[in-house]
Assembly symmetry: C2
Homo-oligomer: 398 residues x 2
């Protein structure tokens, strides 16, 4: 059985045989051998015609002019032949859709599946971040997939035994490009005599995300331990999505405040002045929390909120901030040389205990990349598995 | 008159004398000589104490523990002395606030001012993008400020005469770090035999933003013309915020759809698979459009929308997409060597006409940076002016 996919570079195995098509007024219904049915609008099908007149066959990007057709377009014929759906449109334009592609993109019963896992919320009962071999993920794609999947679902991970030959940028680039900021591509977390940020003191840092002061808060943060001979300085991770859930369950009024009343964030330094105004909990159009902004010492004086909402804003902020210190939600551990914490910086709060450098030095190196890179890498690793499955299937049927 | 600001690295000129303070139950009222009054909550004032116990005096980042105080905190005394507000809190903690700092951060009558200008919406009547000397902005901070201000307000700009010694990254770095993507730090737009994107063909490109396929769509795009000897290939800019306004005024039902029903975006290439689901118009908690996502050939098959909303989603998409081709909204011009278009990639749509390379070569070089960088640079240029004003004022009063 040939797998015809001319729409993009991906592969879509035919998991069941496409049997028949039934045409209605504005859509058609397809039925597969395993009983699965799906409806597709004619406009949607015409828009997604994969032929070489509609999709540039080198870039696989669309060239079809959507505005050139009538929204009420309807095919003059529709047939299922050998697992393919063939449609003929007015003007004799012909479209052929592979049944595997159609099944993957069916949307009438539920949204199409994405290999990126959904968030799994956690608290202290998790015990420790999902932990992986830092040497293996650098060279082995199966190890990379296991790590990337856990990072996507849990939002946090720990790599151990990262080889000395690799720096934190090499780890990040297994996902994608490193994100530059005014702190540089790679930055050092050490106690300094003239620090530009509290991170570079020996002070404790309360649970926070990095750079809530930006519209464009980094998606993924890596913190690689090079030396840790200091006393104290324990690492702490808290699931911000779990905290949001806790607020929603215990104080729905404050949850509403956190989602709707913005806070002002600022990092007014000597040579830069970054500011952003955003609610602490950012939700998408479905009301799901997609981003947490919390960083106590990066709050600007609150001035974007009407006078009569300021006390409510403080009440909500203090409530979630207090929860962020609650041991019920925290993972606590000590980083050793070769350990690398990797976490979703827009979901997970990180913190550190105060430390004393009298016993020895403490040196972490960090960098940022994006959720976009993590998710693209995950999809590509899954695609490679499907390509391999199709290859094995084709070979064995010869 | 001394200017005492121990809260951050900025300067806040005293534009009028602070005269008196009146204490109420949960807030106080300040009155200045020019008649301006402002209310400040006690909790807000305690939170923003700038003393060296509350703010790390090297990093200027807060160390005060907000959760250690009662939300109903109230000062035991409040006095205005020599333009300073002095508060004494229970436990004898003392806070001193400069009147210039207080005036700048007053929030009871209106939000505090930010030197970043508000968007000025435009259409074809603008005639041409705000145009600046590409050599001057590289070396002169006044020229940089004028350009950055126009870029922030209009979302678009044209630099002419960028010296051959400077590449597009040098221009971007006058604002801040260049953003890396899978396309590289700097990328070339040329017609290629084996293109990875329709941008690198001679095809026309409909009005679009770059990378709507990412959660983090780049904020600022630069396109620097190195060679343009081709026939055609005209450049087109359209204000996406203006289009949003037009939809709101003419079809409020479709505006609502564009703000609430997401679309699926994808760039499923050979080596990467970026996807993101977002409404075409993204609004903040105040209902203001902050981001436009539109890129016809970067739409994925729409699968995240319930079946019975698909036709409405298409109707809204086709409406704004048709408007994006309307000459009433478009600036059209031809880029020559040394010209560099710089625009807000999350607001402004760009397009190009088809071109023919028979008459000669066409070569643009592009890169991305972020709104965060533009706005930080603007604030720093304004700060430099205030520092200079205070210096002159102090010198002349000697």
């Amino acid at each position: 059985m040939t797998h015809v996919n001319t729409a993009d570079f991906d592969v879509y195995p035919r998991i069941s045989q496409l049997l028949r098509v039934e045409c209605l007024d504005r859509w058609l219904t397809l039925r597969w051998h395993d009983g699965f049915t799906a409806r597709f609008h004619y406009l949607w099908l015409r828009d997604n015609c994969p032929c070489e007149a509609c999709v540039h066959q080198v870039t696989k990007e669309q060239t079809f002019e959507l505005l050139a057709i009538d929204a009420a377009i309807k095919p003059v014929s529709a047939n299922v032949v050998d697992g393919l759906l063939n449609l003929v449109w007015p003007g004799n334009h012909q479209s052929t859709y592979d049944s595997g592609w159609l099944r993957y993109h069916s949307y009438s019963e539920s949204p199409a599946a994405d290999p990126v896992p959904q968030p799994i919320l956690w608290d202290a009962a998790l015990g420790a971040p999902p932990t992986f071999d830092g040497a293996a993920i650098l060279t082995n794609d199966d190890a990379l997939l296991a790590w990337a999947s856990a990072l996507a679902s849990h939002g946090c991970s720990l790599l151990t035994g990262v080889p000395k030959s690799a720096n934190v940028g090499d780890v990040a680039r297994r996902l994608g490009p490193v994100r530059d900021t005014n702190f540089g591509l790679l930055w050092d977390v050490v106690a300094e005599p003239d620090p530009v940020t509290n991170a570079n003191t020996a002070l404790p840092l309360p649970p926070h995300v990095d750079l809530p002061t930006r519209e464009y808060q980094p998606g993924i943060q890596l913190l690689h331990c090079l030396v840790n001979e200091a006393t104290g300085g324990e690492s702490i991770l808290v699931d911000g999505f779990r905290l949001a859930d806790e607020v929603k369950n215990t104080r729905p009024d404050l949850y509403e405040t956190l989602c709707t009343i913005p806070w002002d964030w600022a990092n007014r330094a000597k040579t830069s002045d970054y500011r952003f105004t955003s609610p602490i909990l950012v939700t998408n159009t479905q009301g799901t929390v997609t981003e947490v902004r919390l960083g106590n010492w990066l709050r600007a004086p609150l001035t974007s909120v009407p006078f009569d909402q300021v006390e409510q804003a403080y009440a909500a902020y203090r409530y979630i901030f207090a929860l962020s210190f609650d041991d019920r939600f925290a993972l606590k551990f000590r980083l050793g040389p070769g350990d690398c914490m990797v976490f979703d910086n827009r979901r997970i709060l990180h913190a550190r205990g105060a430390f004393s450098g009298e016993a020895g030095h403490r040196h972490l190196q960090g960098c940022y990349t994006e959720r976009d890179e993590l998710y693209s890498r995950l999809r590509m690793l899954h695609r490679a598995q499907r390509v391999e499955a199709v290859r094995v299937c084709t070979t064995s049927s010869l």
